[in-house]
Chain length 237, copies 6
């Protein structure tokens, strides 16, 4: 298995909670995984760091970069950040163009990002929209074109914090039982967010329960829920 | 591969047009396939036969049974019919009980049937509803129970004649390119319905085009569209 | 214009409030209109009559029949009632069969009935369901069949009392300005329901306002909103 | 506060997991709560009991009755069961009539039951449908009628096991923090279902987290999610 | 009661028709209300004023400001306008930033604005989008952050002119019976729009009828319909 | 019949495949038709041309202009292009203003454009959005305004390549049987896209089949499916 996975988050820690198990699964099976953050989440999601006296934006970004890189490494992935700013994340035409370049360079088989709707976060829908656009611009309309095209990657949304309010429709459960230890380790890197560590460990257990009930596969203990955006083309049922 | 497929149609010919390729694919890959018709469609869908002078209900059913059996055999499947009557198809509690028994006996891995909505056919939604109920009664609620339970089979809807008006959401395209010849042969058995033969051959080509665009798999020439009703649980992406 | 309109209501007065203008328009343009009530609404919608001391079910039905007949006559239509009982309205197989016969005899071009959902009335959805089924059984699946088939009539839902809660999607506004006088007269026959007379006169004005805004036709003063259930096939735009 | 709450479940234990906190909250605030089970769930949801050698249906029902009564008592509610059978639960006209009588006798202010859709359980949608019908038959159409009418109670759906697959839309979060201890105690009565005890305790914590995020009320630790089915009429915002 | 209400309209008169009663109710109960218009609607909604010979943009704005201020005062609210222009209303990053500041300064408990969709108005969806974004930027993601955050206010949409075409789902009816006189007075200030005065007075009566039917509260004569966008967190049912 | 039709496509060839029959029908019945392309599709949809050695952007545009003009002429329409660039198509405020001017100049009765969603094309939704905005800005809010207003034209979406994935809801079928020859001729001008010629000829036949089944009009052989966006206001049923 040599699939290339690209996970794009609005902020630098999103991938750990929402797709950490899927990333570890892909890399443990011989695939490669790239994490791309559009921002460090330095304004909206780094509250604990800002409680330090004398804290600076540059230092927050540096710490966030280190943590995300360490967590990505635990999952077998590489991490980079476009550092476009958060709250609000604003995507310029140049930023979009840069993202298209990344798609062309990487030629991912699978892309995972945020849901298009999130009534609790102004940056998540922006990330989703720009990823969808970049994917289309990189792969073209399915016909010959004036520019080099990549094969259209599969596109998934990962699970948001409040799934129902984001119209999240989980139609794919990834069995992450074999790599749950790695996900726990990666989450533990985010030392300032102890609550989220237990919240998302428990979510993996709950989604594992759902996956067992749906499939009858008793060995599934932990799962991540994804929303596939396009039909699946299969060679056998 | 040793999966067991069960296709349930309201009338005896439904399976040929809507799932003939999928059936042939499963059996060609080592699986087994059972076709179960709830009725012969002797009233509503056998118009050509009724043009014969002196035609009788019994003779119509006999001919429909022979044709369906022959088409099923071409696809590698067996055919049987509950002969519950059509226009309207009425499901009694006894008929439901009989269907549950079939599920328990066969223990299918995959079940395919009609969509829950069809503004052009009074029997298709009845078939869908009873299949869904029988599936649940045979497999239980996912917990231990007073009766023997089967593993819950995957449930798909096949494509209706006017997909948009039936709220059909094709989320799974089955590549039937390797067995398209068998589907053509099976359709040819339905001698009285020449128009449908070309209609559904063309549909397979159109859905093949869609599948190619979605997946980038250039080798897909023909496909059948299905609607999966429950999330997919996967071991790798 | 010689179209045949059939309006089916769960209770004997439904047609006046919800389709009175459309009925009058059809008949004023040379078409014919038949009103069929499934019940007299003698239990659930005849409260004023039951305040009379010594009131009986038969007398309530007799008065309801007279009023509905008079209102229908004002609109140029005929009225009949299947008298199947209300609260709850229960449709037996025999009653369904009788309704199918009516469809075959009348061969309507257009049928109007209740919405499939109504959280304020237990009988309206039953009426909708049985009308949809009878329409399909009378017209067949669009292919030759063992029984005589009628041309499939257009099917519309009329506006319920609380449109949003019934998922009513008004996609057709009928300009009833030329016949608004007749609708008022027909409503006035329902002497015990003075409030509804002003409620529905006002609704006609409001829907007229909507129709003007949508179409730019300044002459539309009064309208009835309908929900067409199947696509419109047109010879010109 | 003197509101009357009625909780109707398809099986005798449903109320504990899905509405135990809400029941305890109502009774702790001076209201009264009645739990009505349509069946004992003796076939589909009593697996652990059936592992006992020599087990009988009557004994299973007896044990289920005792457990449900004890759990209800802990929550301050009374329990009764219509004993209509499960897997499948079948609602006859007589059973519907009996339920209508219960509504008339009790005159509840609030009713809570299952969602209309549940792809994992054949009985839950039946329960929902019959509760909705009984509510309408007991309260009439909002106009004077031939029979005694009750004030239409508020209607809620409680949270199913897999919310997204049941189209559950949580629009009301009940803060059950003050009575979480009682819910835990009531769940503990269901000795054979240890897994569900932790599953639903955790769900209460998760829904509490959601409620905190939505409202900013930091004191909410545990919540139950409900789906209100009709608009809320308020005297102040 | 000391709640702070903020009503944001695309044009200076929107609040009167759509939320006048709710504003008056809040202020009559001891709360405060602020009306913020993004533009004066000087191009698209001031037609009557432009019929005056020699009319100027500045004069139109002046008159619109006076009328809106007077209407707001009748309702117990204050009025101000960002004067961003209409047809089209364009929200720059600076304008968004200014709106965020207003949210931070005011710290409203409740915000009411337009629906996200309106096929009859190009400015209403822009207003909705910018209000949603400003609310999120002012309140953060529910976690500690680098900037001062306000408690996330409740967010409602008020009723558009053609509710069904705007996908308006009224889930909250505010009983405005006690303040209907104030709403009539405030509407009367809009002297050039006599038709709308009767249109919206009648709408209040119609929504009052709906609210009575839903709740059984016979005293509700007039209501305004709102769409709550997030779940309600309650301490009792 | 003297209706004015305006068809707006993101790229210069869209109109031929998706609305060629409707255009020919309008012009054959005495109406006029204008085709406006927002770009030449020179980057994303001109792959065959780019295979020529030494190809230039200007030459591609010239060829695309000639082909589109020729195809339009066959259909009885005129063609022009705003030449705004594709992949991505970006609409500036100036471009929007220009489009509004076109609407004011032409005063179309009917406008047809792309669906708002298309997961296979980044430019189609942009075109849809700008057409909707221009239509509203040109026609105003239905009230008197400071600028000259046109009567609001009917707005339709034409059929995208993969209808279900674009949430396309075909609610209007145009019988193009009398002009199918012209559509074939116009498609034949697009010499480099032989596959699409047969794909869309077949689609016309399939939609004709659907239209026959829906309406019972046996003479319909070919049809184009459209999605009407606003209710239809009718003078008779």
């Amino acid at each position: 298995m040599d699939k290339k996975l690209l996970v794009v988050g609005a902020h630098s820690a999103d991938f750990v909670w929402r797709a950490g198990g899927t990333i570890a699964l892909v890399t443990s099976q011989g695939g490669s995984a790239t994490v791309l953050a559009l921002s460090y989440g330095e304004r909206g999601e780094s509250g604990a760091l800002w409680k330090e006296p004398g804290q600076t934006v540059d230092n927050v970004k540096r710490i966030r970069h280190e943590q995300a890189s360490e967590a990505a490494a635990i999952l077998g992935a590489t991490f980079s950040c476009l550092d476009l700013g958060d709250y609000p994340l604003v995507m310029t035409d140049a930023a979009l163009g840069g993202l298209v370049e990344r798609f062309r360079d990487l030629q991912p088989d699978i892309v995972i990002t945020h849901t298009p709707k999130d009534p609790f976060n102004p940056d998540h829908p922006v990330a989703c929209q720009v990823v969808q656009k970049a994917r289309l611009l990189a792969s073209g309309a399915g016909v010959a074109s004036a520019f080099q095209r990549i094969k259209p990657p599969d596109l998934y949304f990962f699970e948001p914090h409040q799934p129902e309010l984001c119209d999240f429709e989980p139609n794919t459960f990834v069995d992450i039982t074999p790599v749950m230890g790695q996900k726990r380790q990666a989450m533990a890197v985010m030392t300032a967010q102890g609550y989220l560590q237990s919240y998302y460990a428990e979510l993996a257990s709950r989604r594992g329960n759902h996956a067992r009930r749906i499939s009858g596969m008793e060995e599934v203990k932990f799962a991540e829920a994804l929303q596939r955006t396009l039909p699946l083309v299969v060679k056998s049922l």
